[in-house]
């Protein structure tokens, strides 16, 4: 359950792009707090800025202004190397299109974050196996992503995101490429892993019914701003 100390705190964060001569305000003066172990769903129409916000929290993008605190650390002020370390140690990410490397086996895909985090070689096989066990895909260890169904691929992506034991899991439309039953199964799995491992989840989605079913809170964005934030706690799931 969420605690009072926020895992993520955004303070008047803006992200502007210049496209030719016009300036696009993808995120504008947005402030938001996500509590520890909370499951937040970010909703909004296309171009509302929710993916940009997720990339800012992930440290893949930098805000034009404002501060982003993740577990007390202002990541807006980190240099490029520290930002890479932050992504490696604090953040796990899953994507709509899974983004598994097709040339690598599942085992190698899941091992990749461990390589980047310079985890000891001897320790890695056990960590990979443990991650695959959590998503119940141990039997596909040596397969390549293309030999798997969409749902299975997303489970592998989850295993890869979790293998480094991140405190924050960011999901960018994780069910967007899946049928509704599979999508539901994936979110059930995420919920289950959250309660097992204890982590904060921020999920960008279009699918309001799914968000309502699984998230602790809905944050709705429009035009780069936070339009509403609704807690679902206590509501029947």
């Amino acid at each position: 359950m969420p605690t009072a100390d926020p895992a993520i705190r955004l303070d008047r964060v803006s992200r502007h792009y210049t496209m030719g001569e016009t300036s696009v305000r993808a995120v504008s003066e947005l402030s938001l707090s996500v509590a520890n172990n909370e499951f937040l769903a970010l909703l909004g129409s296309s171009g509302s800025g929710k993916s940009t916000l997720l990339n800012l929290i992930a440290g893949l993008d930098r805000p034009t202004s404002g501060s982003i605190y993740a577990h007390g650390q202002n990541i807006a002020s980190l240099n490029s190397l520290d930002l890479a370390r932050y992504r490696s140690n604090t953040i796990g990410m899953i994507f709509q299109s899974f983004n598994l490397l097709p040339r690598m086996t599942l085992e190698e895909n899941i091992e990749l974050p461990l390589r980047l985090a310079e985890v000891d070689r001897a320790e890695r096989p056990a960590r990979v196996r443990e991650a695959l066990e959590r998503v119940r895909l141990t039997h596909r260890l040596g397969h390549r992503p293309t030999e798997l169904s969409g749902g299975e691929q997303q489970r592998v992506a989850i295993a890869r995101a979790l293998v480094n034991r991140p405190k924050i899991l960011l999901a960018d439309e994780p069910t967007g490429n899946l049928d509704s039953a599979t999508g539901e199964a994936i979110l059930t799995l995420l919920r289950e892993l959250q309660s097992q491992l204890g982590m904060t989840i921020v999920m960008v989605t279009h699918e309001r019914p799914l968000a309502e079913a699984f998230a602790d809170r809905l944050a709705i964005m429009g035009d780069g701003r936070l339009l509403s934030s609704t807690s679902l706690k206590g509501l029947p799931q």
Binding site: A84, R85, R87, S88, N99, L112, R115, L116
Partner: protein, 452 residues
């Protein structure tokens, strides 16, 4: 990322696009091969020239003459010291033998004479060879053998002379020829010379008479090139015999007539010239200075060897530049391959960054891939270059064999060429990887992840 993981990933990436990367590597290999082949030919030719020159004895030998000697038909200029010039006698010879780094000091015996073979006369120049010439390399690849002893009545013929004697030169070995020469005999009033090895000129006030003599010599060998043991030495001599044997003949020599009219050295053995051999060409300069201080003229051809080295440096540089051109083209191949790889792996780079890869990880990955292509290109290039050099040598030797000439070692791949070609290939490839690697590192992960 740790170096081992980085290497793993780089090799894996190279394997994935094996055809393209193999072709790029082949391009580097061809570039390195052309460089190695060119330079190996340059080095080989230089070694060949240096070997021939050192065999000639031109660069480790100093010719010593007295300051009043005639050279090139002109009297040498002497400084107006007032003192009479020092005589080149046995004392001087011993003094020179004691100088550091001197292998030997020997007089020259050389005379024009007639040789009879199968009762036909042949005119030629005869020269005495010091025994040290045996190991100088001048007689490598000769037909037959070198003289059996320092005083043997044996002859080695220069091949052109041998061809005059008989069409089938190899049949000459073991046969005898008759050397007819003019022996000097001192007139009764002159001092007796007791040192037959000293090529005495018996320069006595009484002069000498000249008596025709004959000596039977056994032909033991035929030499292809003209060995010239020493500056002003045996270049044109076509019949060579042991120096001691030649000395005992007391054959009349060119300078003899001059000495008749001079009477200042009565009773002493003097020499028209002495050859001083140094241990190596590098010591010739110092020795020359010492000998000049003793009051003699000293000549060496070291300057010629210096200009030869300059020539080969320029020659090698030119060959190297042509070789480098091919490598430069190969470098563009690396840049092209890696830039293509960035486009193809754009999304992958984005994923790596999202998973925690630092810019430097991505940069090193591409850098390493360039380096690996350079490394393998270098290895295969050195191998191809060596083979190319062997092929050129083989072709040349087939041609030489048809012309009845001795085979030569045209190309040479010394270890420094192997190492530097390899290092050069890797460095050039890394340089080629600089731009693609930095471009990959700077890739915006958000854009890269959006890329389809």
């Amino acid at each position: 990322m740790k170096p081992r993981d980085l290497t793993d990933l780089a090799l894996r990436n190279l394997r994935e696009a094996i055809l393209r990367n193999a072709l790029t590597t082949l391009g580097v290999a061809v570039g390195v091969a052309s460089l190695v082949a060119m330079l190996s030919l340059g080095v080989g030719l230089q070694q060949l020239a240096a070997k021939r020159l050192s065999q000639s004895g031109l660069f480790d030998t100093i010719l010593v003459t007295p300051k009043n000697a005639f050279r090139m038909g002109r009297p040498q200029r002497e400084p107006d010291s007032g003192k009479p010039p020092r005589v080149l006698d046995d004392d001087a010879r011993k003094e020179m033998e004691k100088l550091p780094n001197v292998i030997e000091v020997y007089p020259q015996v050389r005379f024009f004479t007639e040789v009879r073979f199968n009762n036909k006369p042949f005119a030629t120049v005869v020269a005495g060879m010091p025994d040290s010439a045996r190991n100088s390399g001048s007689f490598d690849g000769m037909q037959g053998t070198f003289f059996s002893s320092t005083t043997a009545n044996e002859a080695v013929l220069q091949i052109e002379f041998a061809k005059e004697l008989s069409e089938k030169t190899s049949s000459l070995i073991g046969q005898e020829l008759v050397l007819r020469y003019a022996e000097r005999q001192s007139l009764p009033s002159s001092a007796t010379n007791t040192d037959p090895s000293a090529n005495p000129q018996d320069a006595s006030g009484g002069g000498f008479s000249v008596v025709p003599k004959e000596l039977r010599l056994k032909i033991v060998g035929i030499v292809e090139t003209e060995p010239a043991a020493g500056y002003g030495g045996y270049g044109n001599a076509r019949l060579l015999m042991p120096l001691l044997t030649a000395s005992t003949l007391r054959a009349a020599q060119v300078n003899d007539l001059r000495d008749i009219v001079r009477d200042s050295n009565a009773g002493k053995t003097t020499y028209a010239s002495l050859s001083v051999r140094a241990k190596s060409p590098s010591q010739v300069d110092a020795l020359e200075t010492s000998i000049k201080k003793m009051g003699f003229n000293a000549f060496s051809l070291l300057d010629a060897s210096k200009s030869l080295r300059t020539f080969f440096t320029v020659f090698d540089s030119l060959l190297g530049i042509f070789g480098c051109l091919a490598l430069a083209v190969a470098t563009l191949g690396i840049v092209n391959t890696l830039v293509m790889a960035i486009l193809e792996r754009r999304r992958e780079i984005g994923v790596l960054k999202a998973l925690g890869a630092a810019d430097s990880d991505v940069q090193q990955l591409f850098f390493l891939e360039a380096g690996v292509m350079g490394f393998f290109g270098g290895i295969f290039g050195v191998l191809f270059g060596w083979l190319l050099g062997r092929a050129v040598t083989f072709g040349t030797n087939v041609y030489l064999a048809r012309q009845n000439l001795n085979p030569i070692e045209l190309s040479s791949v010394p270890w420094w060429l192997v190492v530097s070609a390899l290092v050069f290939a890797i460095l050039v490839s890394l340089a080629a990887g600089l731009y693609p690697a930095s471009r990959a590192a700077k890739l915006n992960p958000v854009d890269a992840l959006r890329y389809e």
